[in-house]
């Protein structure tokens, strides 16, 4: 009888990487793939229902773990969660005025671009600027968390969340301009 994975296990230890914001994605992926080879429901297609169900749970857990670890935003939220901070419980005043102002400014830039393909070049400039901000925000988050500055890292998490949301909106905007719907 196969010993299946327990959902209590920390995603970092499950994927055999150290519990930091800076992660070795290569190792995480190797572990993920080798565990999936072991637990994927396809490996149990001839087995009884309880084993198939257990495989489904283990495989879902692995997918969730790998997705969480490989996405910087999800990884950050997960790490904060391990320190007892729920990122869903946030009020406007936790965010700080500075962050709110920056959000509004960037959003205004996106909203004021010329329509259609004309705005494409400026859109790309904005995209590059946001990408840089994402990278530096991630760096700061890692540092704050390492210093156990939980409030600071929570604020940086929300900054990152906003920047990544903006990145998606920029991409969607670009899709529309290119007629990709």
């Amino acid at each position: 009888m196969t010993k299946f994975l327990s959902s209590d296990q920390n995603y970092f230890s499950l994927l055999e990487i150290s519990c930091d914001f800076e992660v070795d994605l290569e190792t995480a992926r190797e572990t993920f793939l080798s565990l999936q080879r072991k637990f994927h429901p396809d490996q149990f297609s001839g087995c009884d229902e309880s084993e198939q169900l257990a495989a489904l749970h283990s495989s879902s857990l692995l997918n969730d773990a790998y997705e969480t670890i490989s996405s910087p935003l999800k990884r950050a939220a997960y790490l904060l969660g391990l320190s007892g901070i729920d990122v869903e419980q946030t009020s406007q005043k936790d965010l700080g005025m500075e962050l709110l102002m920056e959000q509004m400014e960037l959003r205004e830039v996106l909203g004021s671009l010329p329509d259609g393909e004309q705005g494409l070049e400026e859109l790309e400039t904005l995209q590059d600027a946001v990408s840089e901000k994402v990278a530096s925000c991630q760096l700061e988050f890692g540092k704050a968390l390492a210093k156990n500055d939980l409030l600071g890292s929570k604020r940086l998490y929300h900054k990152l969340q906003f920047l990544i949301k903006l990145t998606i909106e920029i991409t969607e905007d670009e899709d529309r301009r290119l007629g990709l719907g």
Binding site: Q36, R37, D42, Q43, H57, S60, N63, D64, L178
Partner: protein
């Protein structure tokens, strides 16, 4: 009698018996079945030597015909001849009306919108029944080939298929008596065919242009694991569209804009298809229709296809973007589907990706072969180390929230299987039920997405409003099929869930169809065996009666009356008996005539030895 096998401790287990598994490509235009032949997986031909079974079903006066035989009725009897049924799977009547092109069928208006059925001379036929007819033919083809029953089948579906379309494919397979090991995305199957054999590593685009559907998948192949990174496509784009564009061009050119009957439309369609095929091999082709003749060139055809070709590259671009990869990250492009034989399509793909696409497998067979290989793995004949497929969910799953808005709970391109939970609460004191509406799609408004079903949660313990926390888990399995379960968090009470699928059939209707198909199969078998038993009985009685007329003198009256008695019994049973009763009585008659037959044989030999010529014996 079989004995229990007792094994020596430590002895090697006996070699596991090879199971019989097949891969089936249930296509819009053609369908195929593949299995292991010797050491490789191959597609199996029909008795006529054709591997491709045309996905056409005709409901005729003298029974149901599938494939080429059904095609003969396309023009003569188009209302009873169903083509491209795959496009109807999981669709509602109103969606089918919105296809934007002409279908000759009448749909049963008595049934709800979500449950379309074509009115044929065999009654109202649902799309899954039409698909099941095609699958049955392939099942029999495979079982005749190996003389074994199929242990399991992998059935392929377009990566873009939503939950309703996947569920109906699975239902159709069950209706055809197949055990489904896995629904496999068609592009993934193609990659399995190429990847396992070549041991390739890297990012691969699978470009699949079939008769009615277009799929692009981006897969990463690494360390024996195939992972779908992103998929995109269009469930209403394929070779049929090119035929239609060509047909419209012909009509414009020849001034056949209106006043054209159904039969002429079908004939024009067949002409367009054949022109398209020939233009894959020739630079220009001459055509004739009624009194019109003309010429079309390959370039003219490419010009006609501008819009669909542009749509194809747009989809490729979007898939790359979803996976956050550049064109230069793509190592190979695999071509799948008969429509990729078109030079215009190959050129467009080569130009876009800057590499020549892989075409070494027959693009019509590669999906079935990949499915056959995966079936071998899943049934346990082949080590699972050789391949593991991690697919993604093609469309986001969401819930209806206040104001007709969708809240996404599982975004598209999430690797499956996946489980996501969401907590809900009650808004009234003592409320014991909640209604959840699950939709699939990328848009923000519920009305722009496809409704998958409504789930009623009942049996929530009555509490003050907002205190009960109902945790609803949405689980998508490796086939991409959704299931929902719910639990009240504080008390641990499981809520009951009643599913009302918005599209397709209620589970009970499918169950009813399965039951009646099983009953019909038993009935069919009984009626076949009954008619065989009758024929055997009649043949024997004819021989016995002739013998009695000739040689009754050879036996004593008691034996003669015994034989006549048995004959009479059998004659009576012929009309009312079951096949088993008739067989038994036939056997009885056979037994009581053994000595009579021996006596006649002796007499015959004696007669021969008395100088009769060989000729007269032979002529008797």
């Amino acid at each position: 009698m079989a004995l229990l096998q007792i094994q020596e401790p430590g002895a090697k287990p006996p070699q596991r018996e090879q199971k019989f598994a097949v891969g089936i490509d249930l296509g819009t235009t053609n369908s195929l079945v593949a299995t292991k032949v010797g050491s490789v997986v191959e597609t199996l031909p029909s008795d006529d030597g054709e591997d491709l079974l045309q996905s056409i079903v005709h409901y005729g006066d003298d029974g149901i015909k599938v494939g080429r035989e059904a095609r003969d009725f396309l023009v003569k009897d188009n209302k009873n001849t169903v083509v491209s049924v795959k496009r109807l799977l999981g669709k509602s009547q109103s969606e089918i009306r919105e296809f934007g092109y002409y279908l000759p069928y009448k749909f049963d208006a008595q049934l709800p919108d979500g449950d379309p059925a074509i009115i044929t001379r065999h009654g109202s036929i649902r799309p899954i029944q039409v698909s099941a007819e095609i699958l049955s033919v392939l099942r029999k083809r495979a079982e005749n080939f190996s003389d074994k029953e199929i242990d399991g089948a992998v059935i392929t579906v377009p990566a873009y298929f939503n939950d309703a379309q996947r569920q109906q494919t699975k239902d159709a397979a069950e209706l055809a008596g197949l055990k489904v090991l896995r629904l496999l995305n068609e592009p993934t199957a193609a990659a399995v065919a190429y990847g396992l054999d070549a041991g390739a590593e890297g990012n691969v685009i699978v470009f699949d242009l079939g008769g009615g559907t277009f799929d692009v998948s981006l897969l990463s192949l690494r360390g024996g694991v195939f992972q779908v990174l992103a998929t995109g496509g269009d469930t209403n784009l394929g070779g049929d569209d090119i035929d239609r564009l060509l047909q419209e061009w012909l009509r414009r050119k020849e001034g056949l804009l209106s006043d054209i009957d159904d039969k002429a439309v079908t004939t024009l369609n067949l002409l367009a298809t054949s022109l398209k095929h020939r233009l894959s091999f020739e630079e220009s082709v001459e055509y004739a229709f009624d009194s019109f003749t003309g010429v079309i060139t390959r370039d003219e055809l490419k010009g006609l296809c501008k819009t669909p070709l542009k749509r194809m590259t747009s989809v490729c671009r979007k898939v790359l973007r979803d996976a956050q990869l550049e064109i230069s990250d793509i190592k190979e492009v695999v071509m799948v589907g008969g429509s990729t034989r078109m030079p215009a399509v190959r050129e467009t793909v080569a130009d876009f990706f800057g590499i020549s696409p892989l075409v070494s497998f027959d693009p019509d067979k590669v999906v079935a072969i990949g499915a056959g290989i995966q079936a071998e793995v899943l049934v346990g004949n082949r080590s699972s180390d050789e391949g593991l497929l991690l697919d993604v969910i093609p469309l986001s799953l969401g819930l209806e929230t206040m104001g007709n808005l969708v809240e996404k709970i599982i975004p598209r391109n999430t690797t499956i299987p996946v489980t996501r939970a969401q907590e809900f609460t009650t808004y009234k004191d003592g409320q014991t039920a909640l209604s959840i509406h699950v939709v699939q799609g990328e848009r923000e408004l519920v009305s722009d997405c496809r409704s998958l079903g409504r789930f009623e949660l009942r049996g929530i313990p009555p509490m003050v409003a907002g205190v009960a926390k109902v945790r609803v888990s949405f689980q998508v399995d490796a086939d991409g099929l959704l299931s929902v379960s719910a639990e009240e968090v504080s008390t641990g009470v499981k809520a009951e869930i009643a599913v009302k699928p918005s599209y397709g059939l209620q589970a009970s209707v499918v169950e009813e169809m399965l039951k009646s198909s099983r009953e019909n199969a038993i009935k069919d078998m009984e009626s076949r065996s009954l008619s065989e038993a009758r024929v055997d009985a009649e043949r024997l009685m004819e021989v016995v009666k002739a013998a009695l007329l000739e040689d009754a003198g050879l036996i004593d009256p008691k034996e003669k009356s015994l034989i006549e008695n048995k004959c009479e019994l059998l004659t009576n049973l012929l009309r009312v008996g079951t096949s088993a009763e008739i067989k038994q009585a036939t056997e009885d008659l056979n037994l009581v005539t053994v000595s009579f037959a021996n006596l006649r044989m002796d007499a015959q030999i004696a007669k021969t030895l008395h100088g009769e010529s060989i000729d007269s014996i032979v002529s008797e």
